[in-house]
């Protein structure tokens, strides 16, 4: 709306947005500042600025609740699952969109048809399947599940952006004698690198925040991932706000860092996703 023309007319929208931004930022600021103060200091005046800052809550959380281990587990599982998902989705979408793939429509249709299946439908049979292969309570098991549950969307996303790669470029590479893999690595991937980064962010967020499979497939303490772990132990700390807040900080930090530095790619991806 090139609507609000006068300078003074711009103030009410600004104030409204500012108020809404405060409802988002204040709770997060509260979590952050509380996580660095002692319980006694917090109880004396919860809303006052902390008198002293310390990392004690984080140290206690890591020493007593094995949260560091959970963080490393999450990093390992998601690192591998994310990399594999991106590589496999790129290969599959390239074959479906750009190569002479037999049964192309069967493949494309299969990926798309399972894209919207909610995880509740899958938990019971996936649990039984993994227990048959003795993969319950192992990190490779949950890594496989994370790859599988994120692949359909990843393939769909890559198919969409793959269509924007001009066929002329691929034909030209072929004329120069480049094989399909060489063409993919030298021509297609460089063109799509920002799209691949957008996809990487979306898949990372989905994996980092996943809850149900993490809870069910990794029951023993040593194998816990961070988000499911915080979900299950968080309730115990309601009487000790500062330590709970340090747990919430650790769990939210990776997504917030990603949003801070890569928001450009995330926002453009969401805007583009609507064009379908």
């Amino acid at each position: 709306m090139a609507a609000v023309t006068s300078k003074s007319g711009r103030i009410p929208p600004f104030v409204t947005l500012l108020l809404l931004a405060i409802t988002t930022l204040y709770p997060l600021g509260f979590v952050a500042s509380t996580s660095f103060r002692h319980k006694a200091d917090y109880l004396r005046a919860p809303y006052r600025w902390p008198e002293s800052w310390s990392l004690d809550n984080y140290v206690r959380l890591i020493e007593n609740y094995d949260v560091g281990r959970a963080f490393i587990n999450s990093a390992l599982v998601i690192g591998v699952a994310l990399a594999v998902t991106l590589v496999l989705a790129t290969l599959a979408s390239y074959a479906i969109v750009k190569l002479d793939l037999p049964f192309r429509r069967v493949f494309a249709g299969s990926f798309l048809s399972v894209m919207l299946v909610p995880s509740q439908v899958l938990i019971i049979p996936v649990y039984l399947l993994l227990s048959y292969f003795r993969l319950v309570d192992t990190l490779p098991g949950v890594t496989l599940v994370y790859i599988a549950t994120n692949l359909p969307f990843a393939v769909f996303f890559m198919m969409t952006v793959m269509r924007s790669v001009p066929d002329v470029l691929i034909e030209a590479a072929k004329m120069d004698g480049a094989g399909p893999l060489r063409t993919l690595i030298d021509i297609v991937v460089p063109i799509l690198r920002t799209s691949i980064l957008t996809l990487a962010i979306l898949v990372f967020l989905a994996m980092w925040n996943e809850l149900i499979f993490g809870l069910i497939l990794l029951p023993s303490e040593a194998n816990n991932l961070l988000t499911p772990k915080m979900a299950s132990i968080g309730g115990r700390f309601v009487s000790n706000q500062p330590i709970l807040m340090s747990g919430l900080m650790l769990t939210s930090l990776p997504p917030i860092i990603v949003l801070t530095f890569l928001s450009k790619y995330l926002v453009s991806g969401i805007a583009a996703g609507l064009g379908k």
């Binding site: 709306m1 090139a2 609000v4 711009r10 600004f14 947005l17 988002t24 930022l25 997060l28 509260f30 919860p46 496999l88 290969l91 390239y94 074959a95 479906i96 969109v97 190569l99 002479d100 793939l101 037999p102 429509r105 299969s110 990926f111 399972v114 299946v117 909610p118 509740q120 439908v121 899958l122 938990i123 019971i124 049979p125 649990y127 039984l128 399947l129 599940v145 790859i147 599988a148 549950t149 198919m159 269509r163 072929k174 094989g179 399909p180 809850l211 979900a231 968080g234 309730g235 309601v238 919430l248 769990t251 939210s252 997504p255 917030i256 990603v258 949003l259 928001s263 926002v267 609507l274």
Partner: protein, 306 residues
Amino acid sequence: MAATATGSEAAAAAGSSHPATGQSGERGFALLAVAPAALIVFLLLLVPILGALVISFFKTDGVTARFVGLDNYASILTDRLVHAVFLVNLQFLIAVPLVLAVATLCGVLLYEKVLGWRFFRIVFFIPSVLSTAVIGLMFKSTFAYDGPVNSLIVAAGGAPVSFFSTATLGVAVIILALVWSGFGYATLIILAGLSSIDREVFEAAELDGASWWQRLWTITLPQIRRVLMFVSVINVIYTFTSLFGFVFVMTAGGPGYSTTTLDYLIYTKAFSSADMGSGSALAILVFGLIGLLTLLQARVARSKAD
């Protein structure tokens, strides 16, 4: 889907029209390239979905199994608990118009490009990148008996409220969490929709002397009705698929079953009552419901666009 089909047909036609030397090599590579992804999706998604369907016809605890036909479905559809939980789930639909209203407000205001709009856009999106478990725990501690909200109530001279031991207040807090976590994403989608409107439409209306509100109701909102429909659809679907994290950390479904949602019920049924058959049947029914909603709403959106 239609676009995929036509696109691939065209590509297939192009592929067969020039029998280049490396053609069979390319086909082989293409199959190899799609195989790993296809195999993983087949084994870990398609087989389990079919598995869920099969399990739903059995009475099983994972060790022994007995075929019971449609008994699991019959008992779920007549189960008073499932009815009650379904009604609980419907209460969360209140979040949909709230998300829509807040997000439309934010979208329209951001579209005016007021000072700092890029900053606001990112700030509103922060809750969307956080885990529902994190948000749930934030709201749980904020509304705890000795939490910040109650200390404000006490400071104002009131008596502290036990938010999570009454059904209505528990649901209300979860709805608040749902709106807080979801409006930023909806705002981005609405903003993208607004940006695709031809600016001349607004300029013409402005020349006609239409006021800001008139333009909002008669031009802006009708122009983005498909986007608003899309936002409603995904938020309706969220209330059936994405409440698990909130319920898990905030109320564990209580008091009683008053905040138990369908997705939380599937979880408790499958792993607490050792009855995977009826858990699967419930999951299949919820999946069917979500599929139906998606199709129905997509149809509504399309007919409105015509």
